[in-house]
């Protein structure tokens, strides 16, 4: 890893490395709510995303490089997601699976739900649906794999904010930050 993010790899090497990262996404399912059931359905025999190289047996965040946040993220759970995202070693990807993870979904007005996982951790692919079909997750994974095949690791790591994010005990989480308001009733 030390070399990977310092130097721009030559074309063929970068292709092979991207191919390797593309077809070996050890997946850590942060199953929160109903979308977790659709995630399990995507991992079992009918949809079986192991075909695409997504292996669901990553037990801990240490061995995983794809974090699928499926379900409603509540304020009480947000620090855990933040910490587990930090635990994951660097070339890591996040799929936000379902409306609740995208931006609060049916619980957009609840007092205890974080409006979207992207307020806590950077998200690569948003899969819409409530809950999305398992095929929608496969479509999201294919989209992510397309992105991985074309991306350059150097830019990705350079773009990532590397100063360690420490959650001070006193600094409260933005629990009730109102959602990014689309233009509502007025013309954009």
């Amino acid at each position: 890893m030390g070399v990977m993010d310092q130097v721009e790899l030559p074309k063929p090497v970068k292709y092979v490395f991207n191919w390797g990262r593309k077809y070996s996404l050890w997946c850590f399912n942060f199953g929160l709510a109903c979308c977790a059931i659709e995630f399990i359905a995507a991992s079992t025999s009918r949809h079986d995303f192991i075909r695409h190289g997504v292996i669901p047996f990553a037990h801990g965040p240490r061995q995983a490089d794809l974090l699928v946040v499926s379900g409603t993220l509540t304020d009480k759970m947000a620090p855990a997601v933040k910490r587990l995202y930090e635990e994951m070693p660097e070339p890591k990807y996040v799929i936000s699976f379902g409306s609740c993870a995208n931006c609060g979904g049916p619980y957009w007005d609840s007092y205890s739900v974080t409006k979207g996982v992207d307020q806590i951790i950077p998200v690569d692919v948003y899969v819409p649906g409530c809950p999305p079909r398992p095929e929608a997750l496969l479509d999201g994974i294919i989209a992510l794999q397309d992105m991985i095949q074309k991306e350059s690791l150097k830019e990705r790591i350079a773009g990532r904010r590397l100063d360690p994010i420490t959650l001070g005990a006193d600094e409260p989480l933005p629990s009730d930050s109102s959602p990014a308001l689309p233009s509502g009733g007025r013309a954009p």
Binding site: F17, Y23, S24, S45, D48, I50, G53, H59, R62, P91
Partner: protein, 368 residues
Amino acid sequence: MSEVLWNTAASFTAQSTSITTFDSFAVSVVVKIAFALGLFFVVPIVGGYLEHKVMGRMQARRGPVEAGPFGTLQLVADGIKFIQKEDVIPRAADRWVFAAAPGVALVPGMLIFLVLPFGPGVFALDLELGLFYALAISSVSVLGILMGGWASANKFSLIGGLRAGGQLIAYELPLILAAITVAVQAGTLSLVGIVEAQATFMLPGTEINVWYVFPQILGFGIFFLAAMAELSRPPFDMPIADSELVFGYMTEYTGIKFAMFLLTEYGGMILMSALMVVLYLGGWQLLPGVPLPGCEGTGGLFDCGVTGTLLGVGITLGKIMALVFLMVWARVAYPRLREDQLQRFAWLVLVPLALLNLALVGVAKVVF
């Protein structure tokens, strides 16, 4: 330098195919190490692929398909990815022990590959104490696991490491007892010797040539279960995959270190299967009593032409893959044993049975 290579190539193909008969010592050392390392990295990849596919089919799904033709390059892709992962060392960890642990767990596996015969003459070393060497070295990898568990300063890894230590030691005993019984039967400790003995072994009092698996079916069963427990494969995977232990001693490892632990597991699976093939299933012999085509020597096993050698290697790999299939089958079908049941099963069931088996064979050896 070129004629040295030329000689090697020539000698390899010309008179005998065995890689043991080379003129200069230096060259043979290089070739042997290359042979052992090559096998150690290739065969576990095939074993891992077989596990993915068989487990998939048994669970009514297809297993990896996209990576490479028919998903064959899945584990290669894993390897390439693990190289690129960020190498994380926990702050509170003991740095050098943490870094050394995967190596200590992996290297014994490679060393044992030196002594395993994969075909007529296709083996790096024919040690006189081959079996003793293999069993001794395999217990060293327990150290690697304990080091890993302790060094990660994560309470879960600690518990995982201790449980793994306890389990491996508990199952070391029946493993060795079963192996000794075969040595007693064959009269030699050299693995190649054991294969040779099986080629000419007659059931006491009858004229049927048979492998050791038939008279010592009990020993084979004990060795199989003990081997699975040694590798902490389900249904004996209490120290690793457990709800409250997250990933056992491997919790803290990422990147290439974690890949080395994985390779240890797959390599160990191949290694134990190979040992069982040599001890019980007659090595590279096709059928008990049937000599390989084009080979002479005792029991039609040695200095055969190229076809005989390739056939021998093929048969051994086939038998190894069959045993790997059995291990995967057990993983798919059974839940996990509880910790204390595991220990009780080892001490109260396996060890007495192994002793009984040893006694029986001893008596049979003396009487017939």
